[in-house]
Amino acid sequence: MTKHPDAPLIAILCLLAVALFFTSLMIGAADLTFAQLFDAVISADETPVSTVFWEIRIPRALLGLITGATLGLSGAVLQGLLRNPLAEPGLIGVSSSASLGAVIAIYTGLTLTVPFALPAFALLGAGTAAVLLPMLAGGRGQTLTLILAGVAISSIATALTSLALNLSPNPFAAMEIVFWMLGSLNDRSMQHLYIIAPFILVGWSLLFITGRGLNALSLGEETAHTMGVSLPRLRFCAIAGTAASVGAVTAVTGTIGFIGLIVPHLLRRLVGGEPQRLLLPSALAGACLLTLADITVKLFGPQSNLKLGVLTALVGAPFFLWLIIKQRRALI
């Protein structure tokens, strides 16, 4: 096996992810010093500090990495599949449809009896959006129709989510619209991770095997066909993979936008336009970016109740504008 051309980049991103992971573990509502945490971790006794570490901070930091990786990876795959720089699970309505599925599963009480209903319903929601989108947008991946179709799907899903929450007899449900629209990693537990883990693993596997097909597809559908790439199979892997992994993370974190949009663009400058080479770095960089955003949320403090999606949008939206302006220039 030849040395991977992006090995240095991948190594740097891995190191960064590990560093951010540990930084995230250090920060929380409780002011714990490194020494206190270290003592609690190495000692076998159960103390309140070790409970905080293992059951509150670890799941949150892990979920940050997994969610970021999922969003970055699926963004890279979707941009390759639809041959469109604006494709991203958040923007094209996959995330909000996954939210809708999760909301239906949770607020009807289904998850109380069948825990796996949560990721399953979210997958169903995400999958519906991912299948509908190319049909609505038409072939050839035209940017305008894709975005318009995405906006439409996204608004419908968000409206139905709000409706479902408003109809819930629980007085707190209506306030939770914010969580489902902006996302948060706050106080998620290992149980959440266990439930979604199988879906994430299947989703990631499906997404990673699209690499070669996406490379071929970047040369055009016909060329890809002559190269022996089965387009239906490629589409299935990309869409099912996105639906499973994005559906699963959205089911426990709510809709987190823009990560999947920014990350592939940032990396394309470093690894070039080849979709396959973009996949692994996108996953790693997504994990880094989301963990960084979550650390920032934690630094604002628990009283601020700041949602993760607010931060990613604050960074993401200006970037999105810049992308549009750049595209407009290219058209002129």
């Binding site: 409970t51 509150i56 707190f172 449900a173 106080d187 628990p302």
Partner: protein
């Protein structure tokens, strides 16, 4: 038969009142005859204290079993939704409202010449007795009020005397991670029951957010929870089932104090105090 006559006489009396506003006005000073309450807490005070036939209507919330201790009694009163128009049409000579009741409605009623008494939210235990006596005076039922108030004070005094020397640590945890610290009625209930409130130890005041991490670090021996709506799920309550919390508490350390006992400062808080004191005693017995 006697009841019917009584009712008939009441109606005649009311009609007479309605016809002669001068008489009504003079009577307001002594005791009001047609009282409307428009706030969950004043509804319950009024139902406790009013003479028969004196209270015309209570608010919609008073009959909600999740919010009101007296929801059953409330069902026998006509309901109001706190609008100036519907209340004016009942022709009351006294309206009892909370200090945070819609100000425009209160101003409108006063502008229409109706006397409105506003009751501030009761946040301490001595205030409950004080408010009972004050409203007793307003309604002209001083004796009844005095009886309920002194009974309440005696109950509380008994609880205070029964407090253990070693006070167990208790944390209040509501939906979305809110807790009750200093200056809240719940805090008073907890301390009167002979428990330490960890929110107060942490310097939290009123109803404020308590991050799960801080709660776990305080290692409470008892977790006080509110009404949970467990048949209607919402994420707000998911936090209470977080493994970190379950881990810290074990199986025995949770107690449910229904919201209706602590939303309003009423003599019924003794129910909550008793429940907590019993639980605290159980903890003490386990420790020995």
């Amino acid at each position: 038969m006697r009841n019917k006559i009584k009712k008939l006489m009441q109606i005649v009396a009311l009609m007479a009142l309605a016809i002669s506003p001068a008489v009504t006005h003079a009577d307001v000073r002594n005791s009001p005859k047609r009282v409307v309450s428009m706030n969950l807490c004043t509804d319950q005070f009024s139902m406790l204290l009013a003479q028969e036939g004196q209270l015309l209507s209570v608010s919609k919330l008073a009959s909600d079993p999740n919010l009101s201790v007296m929801s059953e009694q409330a069902k026998s009163y006509p309901v109001n939704f706190g609008g100036a128009e519907e209340i004016y049409i009942m022709n009351p000579d006294l309206v009892i409202a909370g200090t945070y009741t819609n100000q425009t409605t209160v101003q409108m009623l006063r502008g229409l010449g109706i006397e409105v008494v506003q009751v501030p939210p009761v946040r301490t235990i001595p205030d409950i007795a004080r408010e009972l006596r004050r409203l007793g005076k307003v309604l002209g039922t001083q004796q009844k009020a005095e009886k309920i108030a002194s009974q309440f004070e005696a109950d509380v005094q008994r609880r205070i005397e029964a407090q253990p020397n070693e006070k167990p640590r208790a944390g209040v945890y509501y939906a979305n991670g809110y807790t009750a610290g200093d200056g809240s009625l719940v805090h008073e209930v907890i301390t009167t029951a002979g428990l330490q409130n960890i929110a107060s130890n942490l310097g939290l005041k009123g109803t404020s957010k308590l991050p799960l991490e801080l709660l776990v670090l305080e290692a409470p021996q008892l977790l006080v929870e509110g009404t949970k709506f467990s048949d209607k799920p919402a994420l707000a309550f998911e936090l209470l089932a977080h493994p970190a919390l379950t881990h810290t508490l074990g199986n025995s350390g949770r107690v449910l104090v229904e919201d209706k006992y602590t939303i309003c400062g009423l003599p019924f808080v003794t129910e909550a105090i008793t429940k907590l004191a019993d639980q605290s005693k159980k903890l003490g017995a386990q420790a020995e």
